[in-house]
């Protein structure tokens, strides 16, 4: 990771999509935008810890959207991040039943020209359920699946991170872990309903 590396909006999006030096891109986002967005959260009934948590979720959401090409730079990165943070925070306030007058003013103060990211944030509940399901999966399985599907390592490279004898063992373990995780998703009511609705 290169700390202090600078990106234009276009360069940032490209770096995220390529995934080569994602850590530098994330570091840059923190350097550039964490102050602004944290101040924004704290100015709207948030604590410093709220600001920290919301900004982290904002960054994760942003990167996820860029990777899925749901954001291609049609607005400034800052504008998009603020829009995401605002939506997440409003969601959080409603969840915590802190929708007093101040929060309602915050909700209504949204600039009408602001990007609507609500549909991107709508699956926040799904993301939270992801964590619930993954927590039921053992750490060895989680590591194998992360190395393969997120870090995109080959079976050979994965051997360097895992205590297995050969690639075939890793392949078999990976298969079983994926089957196990898929089974856990089938058992989850939310995902069962989602898939069922999707099939109709």
């Amino acid at each position: 990771m290169t700390k202090g590396k600078k990106y234009s909006d276009a360069e940032l999006i490209a770096a995220i999509r390529m995934g080569d030096d994602l850590n530098s891109a994330i570091y840059f986002i923190y350097e550039q935008y964490s102050g602004t967005i944290s101040s924004f959260i704290m100015a709207n009934s948030g604590t410093p810890q709220d600001a920290e948590d919301i900004f982290q979720e904002t960054v994760v959401t942003f990167i996820d959207l860029v990777k899925k090409e749901k954001f291609r730079g049609e607005a400034a990165v800052k504008t998009f991040l603020v829009a995401i943070a605002r939506n997440i925070w409003l969601n959080e306030l409603k969840k915590k039943e802190r929708s007093g007058v101040r929060e309602q003013v915050f909700e209504k103060s949204r600039d009408t020209s602001e990007i609507d990211v609500s549909h991107h944030i709508a699956d926040r509940e799904i993301k939270q359920q992801f964590r619930e399901v993954l927590n039921k999966l053992g750490e060895p399985c989680r590591k194998i699946l992360t190395l393969f599907y997120y870090e995109d390592l080959s079976m050979k490279d994965m051997l360097n991170h895992l205590p297995y004898e050969n690639e075939q063992v890793v392949r078999n373990k990976k298969y079983k872990c994926l089957q196990q995780l898929t089974g856990l998703f089938k058992q989850n009511p939310l995902f069962a309903r989602l898939v069922d609705e999707n099939l109709r």
């Binding site: 990167i63 699946l145 089957q179």
Partner: protein, 249 residues
């Protein structure tokens, strides 16, 4: 087979077969969607962990500043404290303003004036006409007798001054009290000195001559042996300060 399809390790023809199955077979499609969810979950969690790790590195260099974070209850309490303090301050300023506006020399005179009472001297010679008129509270008679009096000593001057005060003829009263003080200054005497001083101050107040009154009252307040030290000290210092400020404009 679905795992191989997911991992794209199948031959082209096999890929197309699985694709066809996914599109036509509900069971296979269901399994496929759950599998996709599983992979998406792994990727999302890993991304979250990666961001968290970079955040920790960032915070190691740029710690989160927690500047006087207060629990919401304390913030609400402090807001209420500020509101109460602001109300109190407003009340204090309003009270001070009212006090300033409402304080006047004439009002202070009305609050502070105590009529002079002639003492009874046993075995004295016959009471003269002025003294008798004064005891009878016949102020005009006092002044008539004063005008007729051949000799006008300090007592006579003083009583005539008091009669003028009772008749609200303050300028005339001032002159008579000032004559008493002038006599004493000439003779080195102090006959009716304290009385004339105090009631001269009162007369000045009644006549809205605050500055002159304050000068005399301050002299009386500092002189512990003055006959009217207590009476002068009972007059509010705040009132005197306000009057001094107003007269100084």
């Amino acid at each position: 087979m679905l795992v191989n399809y997911l991992d794209r390790t199948l031959a082209e023809s096999e890929m197309r077969e699985i694709e066809e199955l996914i599109n036509t077979d509900m069971e296979v499609r269901s399994q496929w969607q759950f599998m996709q969810l599983a992979v998406e979950a792994v990727e999302y969690a890993a991304l979250n962990d990666q961001v968290a790790a970079v955040k920790d590195q960032f915070r190691a260099i740029h710690p989160l500043e927690v500047i006087s974070e207060q629990p919401k209850g304390v913030r609400v309490m402090m807001r209420n404290v500020y509101k109460i303090a602001a109300c109190l301050l407003f009340l204090v300023i309003a009270a001070a303003g009212y006090k300033y506006i409402s304080t006047s020399a004439t009002d202070l005179y009305k609050e502070s004036f105590i009529p002079y009472t002639l003492s009874t001297s046993r075995g004295s010679s016959a009471i003269n006409e002025i003294e008798q008129a004064y005891r009878d509270k016949n102020w005009k008679q006092v002044l008539t007798a004063f005008d007729k009096a051949a000799e006008k000593d300090n007592k006579t001057l003083f009583l005539a001054g008091m009669a003028n005060m009772q008749l609200q003829q303050y300028t005339e009263a001032d002159k008579l009290f000032e004559q008493v003080l002038a006599h004493n200054a000439q003779t080195g005497d102090n006959y009716f000195q304290d009385e004339a001083q105090y009631y001269l101050a009162m007369s000045y107040l009644a006549n809205n001559q605050a500055k002159e009154a304050i000068t005399i009252l301050q002299q009386i307040r500092t002189d512990k042996n003055h006959l009217y030290n207590r009476q002068a000290s009972l007059i509010s210092s705040t009132d005197l300060r306000i009057l001094a400020f107003k007269s100084g404009k």
